[in-house]
């Protein structure tokens, strides 16, 4: 049975126009029941809908903002900002070896923009790095922009497709997005970045350890209040991609795929989130130099092939 996340199903956006599409509650409930997830179906059945059974978009937006606000707490507790800087600092150091002028970090599927806003608030990557968050959900983008304005943060948020921006990204990042891509879409996601002018990408997602679903249950049960957040938190841990899947998918032409802290090298209790990195091949050596001792935790596909032998 596929593991579905409710938040993926209750909002729909036209990827070309960015326009919101109506979502029929009964169809979502049916899909979740088909997937054998009665609990999720009950959560959706309680959501407000109009007389045509279309989910109330305002209620869904409020719910999504509420759940993402709660979700941010987990990012705060797991010190996601510091994890990002631990990798992105050396990535940008390597990138500066070849790139000149203003650099641009684009956060794909930025949600409430915690990563971008944290980096802006802490001036972590230097004044030459423009921070941009992009998401297909207009309500989340609006709220992210409002939060950034309220704190006077030097970053911006765009509603739309991250690979369709008028200005090219230097480095693409994301947090908790990869597990939403299934099958060929995952490789397509990496290929789009390799085909762009970007010099690197760095995508953090849940490490697919045996402990991940149990840890996600405990963590979301103790931290999240809304049943949707609790449900999706565990579903996302179950959907996390294995190291092999990520490295295979990230091996797009022109990019050197690297995984930081793969299963064999990391304590599963300490590695809840870890990134898959892609970097133009000529920048790998500067990246490893910039990472110092931490570079030993960085492995390419050959490491997994060696481990399998």
């Amino acid at each position: 049975m596929p593991h579905l996340e409710i938040s993926d199903l209750i909002t729909a956006t036209d990827p070309r126009t960015g326009a919101r599409l109506p979502v029929r509650r009964a169809e979502v409930v049916h899909r979740l029941r088909e997937a054998g997830d009665r609990h999720a179906a009950r959560i959706v059945a309680r959501l407000p809908a109009d007389r045509h059974d279309v989910l109330d978009p305002h209620a869904v937006d409020r719910l999504m903002i509420g759940v993402h606000t709660e979700l941010q707490r987990l990012s705060e507790e797991l010190r996601l900002g510091k994890r990002l800087v631990h990798i992105l600092g050396p990535v940008f150091e390597a990138v500066r070896a070849t790139a000149t002028g203003r650099l641009r970090l684009v956060d794909v599927g930025s949600g409430l923009g915690y990563a971008v806003r944290w980096l802006a608030a802490h001036h972590s990557l230097g004044p030459d790095v423009e921070l941009v968050g992009v998401d297909l959900d207009a309500a989340l983008v609006g709220e992210a922009a409002r939060l950034a304005r309220a704190e006077g943060l030097d970053c911006r948020f765009v509603h739309g497709n991250a690979f369709d921006l008028p200005e090219a990204a230097t480095v693409y990042v994301s947090t908790g997005v990869l597990h939403h891509f299934r099958g060929p879409d995952l490789a397509g996601f990496f290929r789009a970045q390799a085909a762009s002018p970007a010099l690197a990408f760095c995508h953090f997602d849940i490490a697919a350890t045996r402990l991940a679903p149990i840890g996600a249950w405990v963590f979301h049960r103790s931290r999240m209040r809304h049943p949707l957040g609790r449900h999706d938190g565990v579903a996302s841990a179950r959907r996390a991609h294995t190291d092999e899947t990520l490295l295979q998918a990230a091996a797009a032409p022109g990019m050197r795929p690297l995984l930081y802290e793969p299963r064999g090298l990391a304590n599963p209790f300490c590695t809840t989130l870890r990134p898959v990195i892609g970097i133009r091949p000529e920048l790998e050596a500067p990246l490893r130099r910039a990472m110092g001792r931490s570079a030993r935790r960085l492995v390419g596909p050959e490491h997994l092939a060696g481990a399998a032998r």
Partner: protein, 178 residues
């Protein structure tokens, strides 16, 4: 030293633990409701709100203990039973508090990789265990010979501290902060 002699110190210790727990409950009631990056003031305010609500609610076990003593036929014996019950109530709480403080210290002091361990293996599960620990504390009042009067006071104290977070949450943080 008899349990009766230690009763004032036990009462102070349990009240202090209840107030500290209330402050943390205030923090938890606010956590996940404020998406700003810089929110130290809001966190302090939420903590103080928890403390204030906890201080009010903790009057419940104090008044219960007073009522039990006033209604008792043999006040000395009831006082002794309450003191013995307080020891039984304190033991599970002391173990829990130690575990929380160790986890919290590890989380705050260690670098992010190790602090994740403190969070995932310590602070997360310990939050879930709070009601069970209070149930164990209530059972402790009986095990230590406190009897029904101590169980009643312990149950009032347990209910009081468990109510702080939902009350603060509903009163001030029912919706994400704008």
């Amino acid at each position: 030293m008899t349990p009766q002699d230690a009763a004032p110190a036990l009462a102070v210790t349990l009240t202090a633990l209840g107030l500290v727990d209330s402050a943390f409950s205030g923090f938890r009631a606010h956590a996940g409701r404020d998406a700003r990056i810089r929110k130290h003031r809001a966190v302090v305010r939420a903590t103080l709100r928890g403390l204030a609500v906890g201080a009010g609610l903790l009057l419940a076990p104090v008044l219960t203990a007073g009522a039990v003593l006033l209604a008792a036929a043999d006040r000395d014996r009831t006082y002794a039973a309450l003191a013995e019950g307080a020891i039984g109530f304190l033991v599970p709480l002391a173990c829990y508090t130690t575990a929380v403080l160790l986890s919290l210290a590890a989380y705050l002091v260690l670098p992010f990789r190790a602090s994740t361990l403190a969070l995932v293996a310590g602070l997360g599960p310990l939050t879930l265990l709070r009601p069970l620990v209070l149930a164990a504390a209530c059972a402790g009042t009986l095990a230590s010979g406190g009897g029904a009067p101590a169980l009643l006071v312990g149950a009032a104290a347990g209910a009081a501290v468990l109510c702080v977070e939902p009350l603060v949450h509903r009163r001030w943080y029912a919706a994400p902060q704008r």
